[in-house]
């Protein structure tokens, strides 16, 4: 008799994926073939464990099955192409540096030679252990397209030395991109990004504190906490000021704030820590009216000093408007490139705040025409409609 398989949780298995790929690469497998073999082993594991239960050493199981699969591929290639491949037919047994291997797969998948979209796709497959179909569905492209993107990405990094330390900044940016993609299809990419960032932070904090990865994790948790309040049932957006704050996930807020405070105490501040500090101040306000905009503006000033990002300066103009009044906000906005997406939306908001409703309504219409997604376009049109009723 088999137990029903519905309850089988594959996430703990997927966490093992990068370490298993690492074992195969250390035994002489090339990254691209190893990754395919491990993905096959994972599919088999999900099927088998669902029926028989999870074995005592699931990682050992995955290594054995993936290695066998890898040898099958290599042998059939060799037979077909008469090519010698320098791999041992028997896996060697020895101590395995799981932690280092996992971290190296993070670095390889976010290699600076990859485009951001390719790095995201490869990370979701080789680090997160998602199937190509799941990734394709999440990004609304055909599975064949995503398969090509992943295999090209693998070719790009296949010649890279596995042992060289990678670029942690790039890894964090890739995870942030995954997080921002949010929620489409049956894979929750925001939750997946949080899981991966948690895993990354547990690896990078081992020898020396890594406050910026902690800052990224805190930022994600604080944003994720607001998700239940961010959209209405029909998919329309609820701006931060109008959100029902009782819907915010208090547990996630608390965890985010705790992680952030520990990170900030290290006095090695970076962009993600500062963004998280701003998100934490919003989370701390029981109502929009109680928001500590003066403190938020101070964080934006610090952020603008280290990033020079036009988006930061645009958001800073909003904070100036809230802290020092609409006219001051509009003055700050004049320093920001007007071609920036959302510039008109911010301008409309500040004009409304200053009492110039006709200009605000006109700007909301213009902003709606420039919106980059339908939910935003509807929201901005609705803002114009609201003002035009007055």
């Amino acid at each position: 008799m088999h137990e029903p398989v519905d309850a089988f949780d594959e996430v703990p298995l997927r966490e093992l994926i990068p370490a298993v790929i690492g074992v195969l690469v250390r035994r002489g497998a090339d990254f691209a073939t190893a990754e395919d073999a491990v993905q096959d082993a994972l599919v088999e594991a999900v099927r088998t464990f669902g029926e028989t239960g999870v074995p005592r050493d699931p990682k050992g199981w995955l290594v054995t099955v993936a290695w066998r699969r890898f040898l099958d591929v290599v042998r059939s290639d060799t037979a077909r192409q008469r090519r010698e491949v320098a791999v041992d037919s028997e896996p060697e047994r020895g101590t395995i540096e799981d932690v280092d291997d996992t971290l190296r797969i993070f670095f390889l998948c976010a290699h600076p030679a990859l485009t951001p979209a390719s790095a995201v796709a490869l990370t979701l497959r080789a680090v997160a252990g998602l199937t190509t179909r799941q990734i394709a569905e999440a990004y609304l492209v055909p599975e064949a397209t995503m398969a090509q993107r992943i295999s090209r990405a693998k070719r790009t990094v296949s010649g890279e030395a596995f042992d060289r330390p990678g670029d942690l900044d790039t890894v964090r940016r890739v995870l942030y991109l995954v997080f921002n993609e949010g929620y489409t299809g049956d894979v929750d990419l925001a939750a997946e990004a949080i899981r991966l960032t948690r895993q990354l932070a547990s690896l990078t904090n081992r020898e020396r504190a890594d406050p910026e990865t902690d800052g990224l994790l805190a930022l994600m948790l604080l944003h994720h906490a607001r998700r239940p309040a961010r959209t209405r049932a029909d998919g329309t957006l609820v701006p931060l000021a109008d959100q029902d704050r009782s819907l915010w996930d208090a547990g996630l807020v608390e965890e985010g704030v705790t992680i952030l405070q520990a990170a900030l105490a290290r006095e090695r501040r970076g962009e993600f820590q500062l963004q998280a500090a701003i998100a934490a101040l919003h989370a701390d306000a029981r109502s929009a009216a109680e928001t500590d905009w003066v403190q938020i503006l101070a964080w934006y000033d610090e952020l603008a000093a280290i990033t020079d990002s036009p988006v930061v300066r645009l958001n800073r103009a909003v904070a100036v408007g809230e802290a020092d009044g609409a006219q001051a906000g509009l003055a700050a906005l004049r320093e920001v490139d007007p071609e920036l997406p959302r510039h008109r939306a911010v301008s409309a908001y500040l004009h409304e705040k200053s009492g110039d409703l006709a200009t605000a309504a006109r700007l909301y219409v213009e902003a709606a025409a420039l919106a980059t997604n339908l939910a935003e376009r509807t929201h901005l049109t609705r803002q114009a409609a609201r003002l035009n009723q007055v």
């Binding site: 329309t236 049109t381 609705r382």
Partner: protein
């Protein structure tokens, strides 16, 4: 089943009967319109007739090949451009009549005063693949 493209236009189609620009509706009328659109999409999926639906930004440009070794020429957007497509549905239905019926329903999306907008939509058949047996 044959496939049809149902095209929404920003401009270029004949003016709809209920031609009040959206920013002059009440916020509740905007919400009702959005809800209708969402329900329509859901219903197509439930009917097994949905293939694809996309909304397009009004932004964009014309692009033209400019000869070997040269980058393509881009121009626009042109404010005077007559036809500007806002989005589409691709549906896979029994035939032309059903595609027209669906376009008719979509055209009745509520607008100002909650009255149907009578928007003009364009229905275009897809070329199918040549049949394996026919000549």
């Amino acid at each position: 089943m044959p496939k049809y493209l149902i095209l929404k236009h920003y401009r270029g189609a004949p003016a709809p009967a209920n031609d009040v620009p959206m920013d002059r509706w009440t916020p509740e009328e905007v919400d009702a319109h959005v809800a209708f659109m969402g329900d329509f999409a859901k219903r197509l999926e439930e009917n097994g007739e949905f293939v694809d639906g996309q909304a397009l930004s009004q932004e964009g440009a014309f692009v033209r090949y400019d000869g070997p070794g040269k980058p393509p020429v881009t121009d626009g957007p042109f404010a005077e451009t007559k036809d500007l497509i806002a989005g589409w549905y691709v549906v896979d239905v029994e035939g032309w009549d059903r595609a027209v019926e669906l376009a008719g329903e979509l055209s009745a999306a509520p607008g100002a005063g909650g009255r149907p907008i009578h928007e003009w939509l364009e229905v275009r058949p897809f070329y199918g693949a040549p049949s394996a047996t026919g000549e």
